[in-house]
Structure formats: C-alpha cells, structure tokens
C-alpha cells in the first residue's frame, strides 16, 4: 500500500541552530504517529514544516490526495494547498486561541470549516455544528457562545470538532492536552482515542508526555535537538528502548 504521507529529509535552520535536521518517515491511512522529545527538540517546527506554514531549507512532503494521486506539496498552487488544509487536513494547536476564532461563536467556529468546503445552507450547517458539538460533549445551549467563555478543556474539544467536521484524513496535533488538569486531560484523550479509531484518521501527534504517546499512537518517533533518535512500534520503544537518550527519557517518568 502506498503511504498517505511521505516526509523526506525535512530540514529547517534558525540562525545557527538546526530545528529539524533531515527528518523522514511515512504514515499510512489510519496510522497514529507520536512525536516525542523534550522542549526545544523541534517537534512543533516539524509540524509547521509538514503543514507548509514554515518553509523548509531542504526536504519534501508528499501526500496522497483524495483522487489517489501522490503530490509533492511544493508543487501545489496556493489555492490547492489552502483547499487541502481546509478539508482533508486538520491542525489542532496547543494554544486554542491560535486554532480557533475567538470572537466567533462555537457554532460559527465549526460552521466556518463547512462553508470552506462550499456548504452554504444555514440550517444544515447549524445542524451539523450541533451534532459535532454533541460529539465533543459541548452542550447545545453553548452553540452561540464564543470560545472566550469556554474552559481550556472545552476550547480543545471545540478545536477538535472544528477540525473533524470536514472529515479530514490527516490530522496534526501539537500537544493537544498539555496545560490542562489531569482529569480534563483524561477526558480529552479518551475522546481523541475514540474519534481517531472510529473515523480511521491518520494522526501525527506531538507530545512530551510518554503516557499520551502510549495511549494514542501506533508508532513513535523520538526527537532530540532536531534529529530522530529512535523510531518504532510505540510499546517497543517505550518498554525496550535502544538509544541512550530514549532510555533516559523513559526512566525520567513514572510508569508511562
């Protein structure tokens, strides 16, 4: 089977520092890849490069489009790339204020992505938005509230609804649960786990929390200082780590 996403040699330099240094991997449909590593290791930069939000100094990202053709994302026009990001890809940000429109109602946040794929029917958009709010456990009577009135956990759930409403095949997530209370985290993780399995999503999830990687991912990629230190089956990498750095990472947390 041809992979959904192929990343090769992705490199990004900030001044004298290599934020990403020749990163490569492939992702199959429905596969969940966790990118782990300590702060500053280049995880967010990797996602930005894949999403084309930051220009790479070297390397390529190829994606199998809905029509089955694999395209190098550099060859897409700006319009094509925007359309891809708005429909077939999702991006759940660590900071909800960057992933949501804070001045727009919850329903509007979800509806906006639907309008982006051409839906103009107000009643249908509102019904779909309501359905998605329910799926992420946001009460129907909050549909007209802006996310500024939501708690941290609710904002992340709204981001998930906003991203998944267009039935994307690939979702990037940058630390979606960090900064939340433990019980709020557990609820969000459980929701993500359920939706990912139910919808067969391919996901690249960045996290510094190894327990999150274990719960959600099939494969894991360990990064340090812009490089891939170790990669493999998630439980194998966490239970039988080979690289010195991975052993240190695993040993510095309690029972991940």
């Amino acid at each position: 089977m041809e992979p959904l996403l192929s990343v090769a040699g992705l490199t990004k330099r900030y001044g004298g520092r290599l934020a990403c240094d020749g990163i490569g991997f492939t992702l199959d449909p429905g596969e969940v890849l966790a990118v782990v590593g300590e702060s500053g290791s280049g995880k967010s930069t990797l996602l930005s490069l894949i999403a084309g939000e930051v220009a790479a100094d070297a390397g390529s990202v190829a994606y199998r489009m809905r029509d089955g053709a694999t395209r190098d994302l550099d060859t897409l026009s700006l319009v094509e790339r925007r359309a891809l990001m708005r429909t077939d890809w999702g991006f759940v940000r660590q900071d909800a204020t960057q992933g949501l429109r804070m001045a727009v109602s919850a329903g509007g946040n979800v509806g906006e992505r639907l309008m982006g794929v051409g839906d103009r029917h107000y009643g249908r958009i509102r019904a779909t938005a309501l359905d998605w709010l329910a799926r992420v456990e946001i009460a129907a009577d909050r549909i007209d509230d802006p996310p500024t009135r939501f708690s941290g956990g609710m904002r992340q759930r709204l981001q998930i609804a906003r991203n998944l409403v267009t039935a994307p095949r690939l979702v990037l997530m940058d630390e979606p649960t960090s900064g939340l209370d433990v019980s709020v985290q557990a609820r969000l993780l459980d929701m993500i786990r359920g939706l990912v399995a139910e919808l067969g999503l391919a996901v690249i999830i960045v996290t510094h929390d190894l327990a999150v990687a274990r719960l959600l991912s099939h494969r894991v990629l360990v990064m340090r200082a812009g490089r891939v230190i170790e990669t493999g089956l998630t439980d194998q990498v966490l239970d039988d780590p080979q690289a010195a750095y991975t052993q240190l990472l695993v040993s510095s947390v309690l029972a991940a």
Binding site: D28, A186, D190, H218, L233, Q236, D240, S251
Partner: protein
C-alpha cells in the same frame, strides 16, 4: 500434566536460536545478557509452560513473542495463515497486524484506559480481534460472568478495582477473540482458588479449539493442570557469555 495433542501439524510459533540482552546506557553501557540460543516450537493445542527462577528471562521471551521486546539475535516465526512472519525483523505495522489477527497476550497487570468501563474494555478487544459488535458484547458478558466479576463493576473503569479484579478483566480481554496464539504471563497470580480453576477451564477450551499457548504459571497446581510441556528457561543460559 495434560497429554499433548495426538496429531502435530505445523507449529504456530517457533523460536530459532533467539538471544536477548539489555544494554544499560544509564549504567555506563553495561550489557545484561538474559537469553541465548532459545529454540522452541509451540503447536496448535499445546500449552507450553516456561519454567525457571525469577529473573531467568521468562517474561522477556513472552514479550519478544508479542513484539514488545526486540530480539538481539535469532528469529521468532509466527504462522499467519499461509505465511510465516519473523517478529525479529517485522515492521511495526506488521506486528500490529499480527496482534489484531494472530497474537493474544495476557500481561501480568492490566494497563487501564481512563474512563472506559470493564465490559467495554473487553468488548473493544473482541471487536479489534474481528468479532462482530453484538458477538463481542455477549462474549464479554459471558467471560466476565464466568470469571465472577461482580456485575455492579462492569460499567466502571477498572482503575479503582482490586488487583484480582483487574486481572480478571485483563484475562477476559486477552481471551475474548479467537486468535491462534495465546501468550500468558502469570495470569493467575492474584486470583483465588475458585477463579484459578475458571482460568484452567478457559485454557483447556482454548487448547481444544487448537490455540497454541505459551505461558508462565507460578502456581504449581495450575501449572500441572494446564501444561502439556514445561521448558526450563535456564537451559537458554548455557550459551550466555559469562
């Protein structure tokens, strides 16, 4: 000991000259040799029990057979329909595929998933193993009832259960689907006599259905009741470099 099955068709699980060692980078790169020259085959309907002292490497062998630990050398061949896959060299995707279709594993402890109830945990394992949702639901209930898990616990997440209760959920989860190979790591350690006897029965049923079982059973009575053969893992230390 239980008699071995009369006909011996192709083995489902084969260890060929398998070695395992750990390189402890946080201890100056010291190498801990655990197993060398492990050769072993498990046929349909057999229950091979790994023996040997604590620390001998029994759990490590099981974990390698599940793809959870890597092999340092040798091959672990898993029969998957018409083909045979070597876990020592298989890609992560292949290992995950084998876990869905072929390999079942009952670990020593349940790794709980937050917010998911006991019955749902077992049911999900059944669906992942290829059962239709309705069948998974029925079978999960049957197994939990047979293992005497009080019905009032079924809807609750096992995080707050006692060790024995968690272990029974774990056993039900491992046994619900019909996978040809079953790996069990001390599944009865925290169970009372009544529930140990249930597990012995469940293992006999799996064997009768042609499952190849490789397990570790501390309790001498259980071991006698389930084993068709006992393999002492210390036999795989001879080839270790001192």
């Amino acid at each position: 000991m239980t008699p071995a099955p009369s006909s011996s068709p192709l083995p489902l699980l084969v260890f060929e000259d398998v070695a395992k060692s750990f390189t402890l980078h946080l201890r100056g790169g010291a190498v801990l040799p655990v197993i060398a020259g492990a050769t072993l085959a498990v046929h349909p309907g057999e229950c091979v029990v790994l023996g040997g002292a604590s620390g001998a490497g029994k759990s490590s062998l099981l974990k390698m057979a599940y793809g959870n630990y890597r092999c340092a050398a040798g091959a672990i061949r898993v029969r998957d329909g018409d083909r045979s896959v070597d876990l020592a060299t298989a890609a992560p995707r292949e290992i995950l595929g084998l876990r869905r279709t072929t390999l079942a594993y009952v670990s020593q402890f349940l790794r709980v998933i937050p917010r998911v109830g006991a019955r749902a945990v077992v049911e999900a394992a059944g669906i992942e193993g290829g059962l239709a949702p309705a069948a998974a639901r029925t079978r999960a209930a049957d197994l939990l009832a047979r293992l005497n898990l009080p019905k009032r616990l079924w809807a609750l997440p096992p995080a707050t259960f006692s060790g024995g209760e968690q272990q029974r959920v774990n056993i039900a989860r491992g046994l619900i689907a019909d996978r040809p190979i079953l790996l069990m790591d001390e599944p009865t350690a925290s169970l009372d006599a009544q529930n140990r006897a249930v597990v012995v029965d469940l293992i006999a049923e799996k064997r009768a259905a042609g499952t190849a079982i490789l397990g570790i059973f501390h309790d001498a009575d259980v071991r006698q009741a389930v084993a068709t053969r006992i393999v002492d893992v210390s036999a795989f230390h001879g080839a270790l470099a001192a």
